[in-house]
């Protein structure tokens, strides 16, 4: 009897001690988790997106649909139009060959119209050039460019750059007439880093041999994804028989399906994005590059780049204002600038234009090339038929 009592009290003491330890442990773990969360969070305060489609012509419908589906996801997850630079090299929605005008579909049987009602294209058609793209990235823009066409990011911005089109080993074709090489792109990113125009950058490219475009990056805090490795082609997904062209590329199609599951509060991380579109579905092998990125991709949320989740602090301080204050006399009174009233110049003098005679074009003597060509033709003629014909000409 005497032996049982100390045993019971010892058991109770042990249980109390265990409970106490458990509580302490939980509190410690919560404190540690809070600290860990603080540490692993990205330090960005705003998000930007630069979405580029580089190919024109009707049969490249899928590239425009690719870009528009990423645009749609990014807008849905919270990035406003003022922070998105959308560059589309051709207009598919209002293309004369589009049987359903004002729509761009991504799924066959016209299930999903990614064009929507409030799309805002910043660079359209022939404005999408390598020069303009690099100007947007580096910020070396002429002063007359409107605010919507600029990338006004700062050192706390996370930027998503998505490019799609036709590409090859080390280059990406723009508008069927020029190309951007991976060296130029890497240099542009380095210029951005020098001026601290980004905090972290996510670069996604969906072209043939896309992995070659991120091989040359050397600036810190860049993560890159590509739809295919060097030597492989990225394939398109499915044609729609009503529209007559392929609607999407495979990689972006599966990325869009993945992003449709994401909502602004989801905690999905980048490792899941790397698994999107395995070889069985995509036929090409998607690749990614994270060695320049400082955080572990498992800690990077999808919404860090695709959405715009802001850091928020509760305001606990107030200022105490004296309400009885009357009007205010500024210490630095603004000087009244006396300007003369301005008149707008007549912008469209219709009467003048319709009654104008066509301008006489000045005559220019033929240039070097034409002269050289004619000299060559004459030399060949006389070489072949002999110099004796000369006296008939002159």
């Amino acid at each position: 009897m005497a032996a049982a009592m100390p045993g019971a009290s010892r058991a109770r003491a042990a249980a109390a001690l265990l409970l106490l330890l458990g509580c302490c442990g939980a509190a410690l773990a919560a404190g540690l988790q809070d600290q860990a969360e603080q540490f692993l969070r990205s330090g960005h305060t705003n998000n930007w997106a630069v979405l580029v489609c580089t190919s024109r012509f009707w049969f490249n419908y899928r590239h425009v649909a690719n870009t528009l589906s990423v645009y749609r996801s990014v807008k849905r997850l919270g990035i406003p139009d003022s922070h998105i630079v959308l560059m589309l090299a051709d207009d598919m929605a209002c293309n004369p060959r589009n049987p359903k005008p004002a729509t761009v579909f991504s799924h066959k049987n016209m299930e999903l119209n990614v064009y929507g009602d409030d799309v805002e294209v910043d660079y359209r058609s022939y404005e999408v050039t390598v020069e303009n793209f690099l100007r947007v990235l580096t910020g070396r823009i002429p002063p007359s460019t409107p605010r919507s066409k600029r990338l006004l990011s700062d050192d706390r911005s996370n930027i998503l750059i998505y490019m799609t089109g036709h590409g090859g080993n080390g280059f990406l074709k723009f508008q069927d007439s020029e190309e951007i090489t991976n060296v130029e792109l890497a240099d542009a990113f380095e210029q951005m880093w020098q001026k601290r125009r980004y905090n972290e950058l996510l670069f996604i490219i969906d072209t043939c041999q896309g992995a070659s475009m991120y091989e040359r990056f050397y600036s810190p805090n860049i993560m890159a994804l590509a739809s295919s490795q060097v030597g492989e082609d990225s394939l398109s997904h499915q044609p729609d028989l009503g529209i007559g062209v392929h609607l999407m590329d495979r990689y972006t199609f599966y990325v869009l399906e993945f992003l449709e599951e994401i909502h602004p509060a989801s905690q999905t991380n980048m490792n899941d994005l790397f698994q999107v579109c395995p070889k069985s579905l995509c036929v090409s092998t998607p690749g990614h590059r994270t060695d320049l990125f400082q955080r572990d991709p498992g800690n990077v949320l999808i919404t860090d780049f695709f959405g715009s989740v802001r850091k928020v602090e509760i305001t606990t301080e107030t200022l105490s204002l004296d309400r009885q204050v009357a009007g205010f006399e500024s210490k630095f009174p603004e000087e009244e600038l006396v300007t003369e009233p301005l008149k707008y110049a007549e912008q469209l003098p219709v009467a003048q234009i319709i009654h104008q005679k066509p301008k006489q074009k000045d005559w220019h003597p033929p240039g070097g090339f034409i002269l050289g060509l004619w000299a060559l033709i004459i030399m060949v003629f006389f070489k072949t038929y002999g110099i004796k014909h000369m006296k008939h000409v002159f």
Binding site: Q38, F39, R41, S42, G43, T45, N46, G78, P80, D81, S82, V130, E131, L134, R135, T138, G139, R140, I141, P142, P146, R147, S148, R150, L152, D154, D155, R156, E184, D187, Q191, Q194, K195, R196, P264, A265, Q294, S308, V309, R310, K311, V312, E313, I314, T315, T316, E317, T318, L319, S320, L321, D322, R323, V325, A326, G327, F328, S330, K331, F332
Partner: protein
Amino acid sequence: QVQLVVPMAVVFGPGSVPADLPSPLPFRDVQEMEISVNVRTSVTSRYEMHYRSATGQEEAALAAATAQEADAALHPLQDTTLGSLTMYVVPETTSLLPQGINVYVGKHRSALVRAGGSLAALQARLREVTQVMSFTASSIAAALSDRVPDGQLSPDARRYLKSSLGYEITFSLLNPDPKSHTVDWDIEGAVNRYVKPVLDKLSLVANFSVDSQILYYAVLGVTPRYDKESSSFLLSAHSLPHVINPVEARLGSSAASLYPVLNFLLYVPEHSHSPLYIQDKDGAPVSTNAFHSPRWGGIMVYNVEAPASPQASLPLHVDVDMARVMEVFLAQLRLLFGLSREEVPPEFLLESPGNEGLADWELDHLLWAHTVENIATVSTTLTSLAQLLDKIGNIVIKDDVASEVYRAVASVQSAVTKLSLGHLHAAFQASKEAVTSSERAFFDPSLLHLLYFPDDQKFAIYIPLFLPMAVPILLSLAKIVRETRLHKKEPTKMD
């Protein structure tokens, strides 16, 4: 390197002189401290202290009844240049400072410090005061945040507004339910009465432009929860980050200005969701009913009082109490700039700045941080510009780009010199000019590296074109040379 010089005057009131002074008053002393940001960058801070005893007028002012009166009386007798500090040492048994308070920091650039017995204790206290009133190692490190090696600064340390030449402030009233509430706010009067004094004081730092708008049918992105106990609606702290996004698309900003925009939103909740309170992490309602987001702005929820009779006809007319709203918005503006009073030691008493919004020493605090940040930005910009020009050797530098670079270099040198002399205002103006010039030089549209072909690309294009064409030309040239040489030799052979 950069040396930050703070001219300080330490004035001993009657009965406060410590016994162990090294030399009789007045004398000067210098304290230097090095703030090391990374391996190559460090900033030295130098406090030039001038110890003296109080003049007759100052003694009379220090004999006032309260600390506020003493501060007001001492203000005209002080050195009011930007960046300077004046410390008045009062005896330990003084009645000016309440019990438990050792330092009283006034609205201007002075503080009343209780004597600590020995000179060493006094100097320790003075060091604390100067840390609060001018700059600390962490504030300088935050200004130079892009040079600090990653991992040393917490992500939250870089959240203050970057130094910029101007800021655009937009006040927006969000009325999601105009059928139930007709909201009237006298924003123009409030801006004239409350906001203009603060912006006037801040006009030394940057240009401010203010505009306002009213948005109807603008809803928050989150549905608030109904709480039965308080019969009100609650917005929890972790849903706040998602509130801003749906509204942001409609806020708009001036198309012409490239300055950062600060948005201050006043949200009047819908009739069906009134009253609406914001909960902090512990579940308690926030007294100000407002929250802010770094580098973006702030949102305040303004609850409409329930009408006296439940049968009152809709829409209810609401007259917004602008003073209460502006108290919160101006406090948020201070926090966005980084002027928070939370990290002050408990034995300090800080005078409230009143309608001016910020004390003179807080303005100095901003100027120190911004000047250092500007100088660092200019040196980084010019260095990277030089690297770019080294890399692409055949880039053409226009004359105006070159003159901007020269001007930037001259301005930044003058800023560093003025800092080492203690002239904060002149140094700040010089650093602003340096930033303008260097940005104009760096972002000049003609410096696009795409427009200049590197030499290896030139070879790669022209060699495959000209080499095959050149082969027959070279061969025939060689044949001609051989023939003439043979021809020259022949006459000597034939006799």
